[in-house]
């Protein structure tokens, strides 16, 4: 029977550090191999003698390599060869500065640098090919809404929401918008069968007639605007290669404990090729999900283009083909969110997200209409349609309270968020609450974060949990407005907010790259990695421990709940949700909120 147990000589040549070899020895012994550990700092003749006398199969040397030490190792390998051992004995070198190139130069069979696992060293000894953990890491998608009952703990708030949502549903039942019509036509276009293809031109014409001028020209005259272009074949091929290479590496896990939040990263460089490259990088560094950012001009435009289109500014154009392309390159375990929280195309966005098998979408009437420029009436009616698509395609949606960044106080933003949440619940969709972890204008004026960033953010979570049992996904991104241009500071504050999120046991977080707030230009891959690494370290550091807040957190959470109720009462009493948006119940001019203008006057009553 062939003896596959090895005899390994372990040689700590570093005068001080032999802990690495001791750990390897333990693991080797556990696997039945025989090990001989030499005392630290042995000389070459002693090592070779020990190798000869013990008839070893492998020599593992641990040594930090600096200048001069390289020659020592070179001489060692020469002596191993001179002693006639080189053919029979495998020699490996491990230490802080070791890389495969250095091992090759020194003449060793294997080089083990920092980050080498014990498993890798064992595989070397056993003559097996080492398959790094990353390739065997399995990442399965998590539906973090499934364990929530959506039961209300606060009866009065629930009753108010019932009243408000009933009004919204009544209103929108009898109204239609160009976006809703376009979404219906789009669905027909995408579900057309082969023998119905002759209907396509008619459908596209009907679609384009509901669009803005530039889009009409696109569909009817094939005119592509100057800021869009089709990627060429060379770019596409290069990208396919890159994707294939990155997928070989597989995902990474960023959480230290299973229950720590999922980490989402937003992309939207403008170019689907760049986006895909960024997505692959963040997947490899542990991101659990990616969020599609579309261009801001898209929100002001009636209609979507078609085809694979790259774009020269921020935001990647939404077309079914672009979305399909991005979906195709995602790893199976990566969650994908396509946002539909503002603009003139929200129903069609959710439809496309659903058809292209996205995992999540984003809807918020208050933010979209008060701080992102879309007309309140238009966005409300569209949102009902969008939420119906979300329910139909089983896409949970989060509700970002980004109007806080404009200056709207949290309690008003949360009132708006709860309305959109309740609306979705009534339509069969599953909302996710997205309070912001940010240094908002409210806080700048109110001083709640003068001492620490944790209390007020925690108060938000406590408040929401007092009202309803629902998933919570702080954003957007966490730590917003605490970042500076300094990369380390930026990554650190993101990481610390991630630690807070984990401590509060929320479901997910959105993180920015360390140059996102201040780059003023393209976001770099390295800065994306900064933030992910910082989050990872914070998760690691936290483990099962929890941050402690002061009494302020509880106090502020109770105040928030009271104030939310007051706002909802005001909205309910007004009796017309859309009016409430225009009149500032959910954020007024003084707060910094302005009802949007895009799409004003485009909502029509359905005849009959």
């Amino acid at each position: 029977m062939k003896n596959d147990k090895k005899k390994v000589l372990l040689v700590p040549l570093d005068p001080v550090h032999d802990i690495g070899l001791k750990m390897i020895r333990k693991a080797l012994n556990e696997k039945g191999h025989q090990t001989i550990l030499l005392p630290p700092d042995s000389r070459t003749p002693e090592v070779i003698n020990a190798a000869i006398k013990n008839n070893v199969d492998t020599i593992l040397i641990s040594r930090t390599v600096g200048y001069g030490v390289a020659e020592l190792m070179g001489n060692f390998i020469d002596q191993v060869e001179a002693a006639g051992l080189r053919e029979k004995v495998k020699v490996g070198l491990g230490g802080m500065a070791i890389r495969p190139e250095l091992a090759a130069e020194l003449g060793f069979d294997g080089g083990f640098g920092p980050g080498t696992t014990i498993e890798e060293a064992i595989a070397f000894v056993e003559g097996r090919k080492y398959v790094p953990d990353e390739i065997t890491v399995q990442k399965n998608k998590k539906d973090f809404t499934e364990n929530y009952s959506y039961n209300y703990h606060h009866t009065r708030i629930k009753e108010l929401l019932d009243k408000i949502v009933e009004n919204i549903l009544d209103y929108s039942k009898t109204r239609i918008t160009p976006a809703i019509k376009r979404a219906k036509i789009r669905e027909e276009i995408l579900s057309i069968s082969e023998n119905e293809e002759k209907e396509l031109p008619k459908l596209k014409k009907a679609y384009s007639n509901l669009c803005d001028q530039k889009l009409k020209e696109f569909y009817q005259q094939n005119k592509i605007p100057s800021y869009l272009r089709k990627p060429d074949q060379k770019e596409v091929d290069a990208l396919e290669n890159f994707v294939k290479m990155s997928n070989e590496k597989g995902p990474a896990i960023i959480q230290h404990k299973d229950e720590q939040p999922l980490v989402f990263v937003q992309y939207g460089t403008g170019c689907p090729l760049m986006d895909i490259a960024h997505i692959k990088v963040v997947e490899a560094w542990g991101a659990d999900g990616v969020v599609h950012f579309d261009p801001s001009w898209g929100a002001r435009t009636e209609g979507f283009y078609e085809g694979y289109l790259a774009h020269e500014e921020n935001g990647t154009v939404i077309t079914s083909e672009n979305l399909e392309w991005i979906k195709r390159v995602l790893l199976p375990g990566t969650l994908w969110q396509v946002r539909a929280h503002r603009g003139l195309n929200t129903p069609e966005t959710v439809l496309l997200a659903g058809i292209n098998r996205a995992d999540l979408t984003k809807v918020n009437i208050a933010y979209g209409s008060l701080a992102a420029g879309t007309d309140p009436e238009r966005l409300t009616v569209d949102a009902v349609a969008a939420l119906k698509y979300a329910a139909r395609f089983n896409l949970p949606y989060d509700i970002p309270t980004n109007e806080e960044l404009a200056g709207v106080p949290a309690h008003k933003a949360f009132a708006g968020m709860l309305i959109t949440a309740h609306l979705g619940l009534k339509l069969g969709a599953r909302p996710i609450l997205q309070p912001l972890f940010c240094y908002s204008p409210q806080v700048m004026l109110g001083g709640q974060m003068e001492d620490n960033y944790f209390d007020f953010n925690a108060a938000k979570i406590f408040a929401l949990r007092q009202i309803i049992s629902a998933p919570i996904w702080p954003g957007a991104p966490i730590g917003f407005l605490t970042h500076t241009e300094e990369r380390v500071q930026s990554a650190t504050t993101t990481g610390l907010h991630a630690g807070l999120a984990a401590s509060l046991e929320v479901d997910a977080i959105s993180v920015a790259s360390s140059d996102e707030a201040y780059s003023g230009g393209p976001i770099t891959v390295s800065s994306r990695i900064d933030s992910l690494q910082s989050v990872k370290e914070n998760f690691r550091c936290l483990g099962e421990t929890r941050h402690q807040t002061t009494d302020n957190a509880k106090k502020w959470s109770e105040e928030l709940v009271d104030k939310i109720e007051k706002v909802l009462k005001q909205v309910a009493n007004r009796g017309n949700f859309i009016d409430s948006l225009y009149q500032g119940d959910l954020g007024n001019r003084e707060d910094g909120a302005y009802p949007g203008r895009y799409g004003r006057g485009t909502v029509k009553k359905i005849k009959g």
């Binding site: 070179g74 390998i77 060869e81 020194l106 060793f108 294997g110």
Partner: protein
């Protein structure tokens, strides 16, 4: 001896091995010859692995053969077509034999062991290269046994004192000049240390290498008791070599000690000290020889050394007086001494042509 296999070995890192090889390759192209190239280490990286200072790369023309690790194939700008696999594994993957299809720079990680290098050379011969170059690595020497001759690269990176460098070169030269002996087959093929006597007297010791005091004393005892000589096939350590040579007396009858090759002696300790110990033994009347000799063709020198700023933990480029270094070495040995950067490589190439290609 065709095609010639030339090794460029160094006394340390940064002594100019790759510069010498690069320069020779250019000469080879200039003379319309087809080279085959490999290394026993790793060549072509942008910056030094340890000092982070920039390093020379190879620029290769079409039809150049090379043996390099799989992961290095796309490391440079040259396009390399794979001709065959070798089955030799290195930290950078399997060694492949390739041919340059489009000129450019190349990164090479080659066979590290002597037997693997021999195998690669055999494959090169199959493809009819005109000349085979083997770049060294650091101060590693042993695989160079398979070459027909070596060029020794040394310089300030080894030691910043020209006299010290020159003394070492002289010592290495002296060791490489040790007389070649032939031994009977059974002695020569034995992996163990064998003492041989008059007639057919033989005694094998249980060791293969001269690493332990016990072994040194055992050999000395045998030689003093009447054995004529001893063959040490394995490795040697200077401490034990010294002990052995000091202990052997009655040298009127020669007392020949044969080693497998002179490279083993060069690596056994500081070459100057090794040479001194052997010289003393020979003065006493003893004889030292080798079974296989290694030809030393020329010396190339490099006045560069990586200076170290301790407070900043940084390396920077520094130089000693190149002419002074050259003169110091030339004074001590009878071989060509060349500074590739100032003298060019034509002279060195001519020496190779004369040595290996003259009718």
């Amino acid at each position: 001896m065709f095609p010639p296999v030339i090794g460029v070995a160094g006394t340390a890192k940064n002594t100019g091995k790759t510069t010498t090889v690069s320069a020779l390759i250019k000469q080879i192209y200039y003379h319309n010859m087809k080279p085959a190239l490999t290394t026993i280490g790793f060549d072509g990286e942008e910056i030094d692995n340890i000092t982070l200072l920039p390093k020379p790369k190879f620029f290769l023309q079409k039809r150049t053969l090379l043996a390099t690790a799989e992961k290095c194939l796309t490391g440079g700008s040259a396009r390399i077509d794979t001709l065959e696999k070798t089955g030799i594994l290195t930290p950078l993957g399997e060694i492949l034999i390739g041919k340059v299809a489009r000129p450019g720079t190349a990164v090479i990680a080659g066979p590290q062991k002597r037997t693997d290098l021999e195998y690669v050379i055999d494959i090169f011969k199959k493809y009819k290269s005109d000349i085979i170059l083997v770049d060294g690595a650091l101060n590693r020497l042993m695989p160079m046994l398979v070459t027909h001759g070596i060029i020794l690269a040394t310089g300030a990176a080894r030691n910043i004192e020209p006299e010290t460098i020159a003394a070492e070169v002289q010592a290495i030269r002296s060791l490489l000049k040790l007389k070649k002996y032939s031994l009977k087959t059974d002695i020569r093929k034995s992996p163990f240390i064998t003492c041989f006597g008059p007639d057919k007297m033989h005694c094998q010791l249980p060791s293969t290498s001269l690493f332990e005091d016990e072994t040194a004393l055992a050999i000395a005892r045998k030689l003093n008791k009447g054995f004529k000589g001893c063959y040490i096939p394995g490795a040697v350590n200077l401490v034990q070599l010294k002990k052995l040579l000091q202990q052997v007396v009655n040298l009127n009858f020669g007392k020949l000690i044969v080693f497998h090759d002179p490279l083993r002696l060069v690596i056994s300790g500081e070459p100057s000290e090794v040479d001194k110990v052997i010289f003393n033994y020979q003065e006493k009347g003893g004889a030292i020889g080798v079974l296989n000799s290694v030809k030393l063709i020329a010396i190339t020198l490099n006045p560069f050394y990586p200076g170290y700023k301790r407070d900043k933990n940084l390396y920077y480029s520094a130089f000693i007086d190149g002419k002074k270094l050259k003169d110091a070495i030339k004074e001590k040995i009878d071989l060509p001494v060349i500074d590739i950067k100032t003298d060019g490589s034509e002279k060195l190439f001519q020496i190779l042509l004369k040595m290996f290609f003259a009718a």
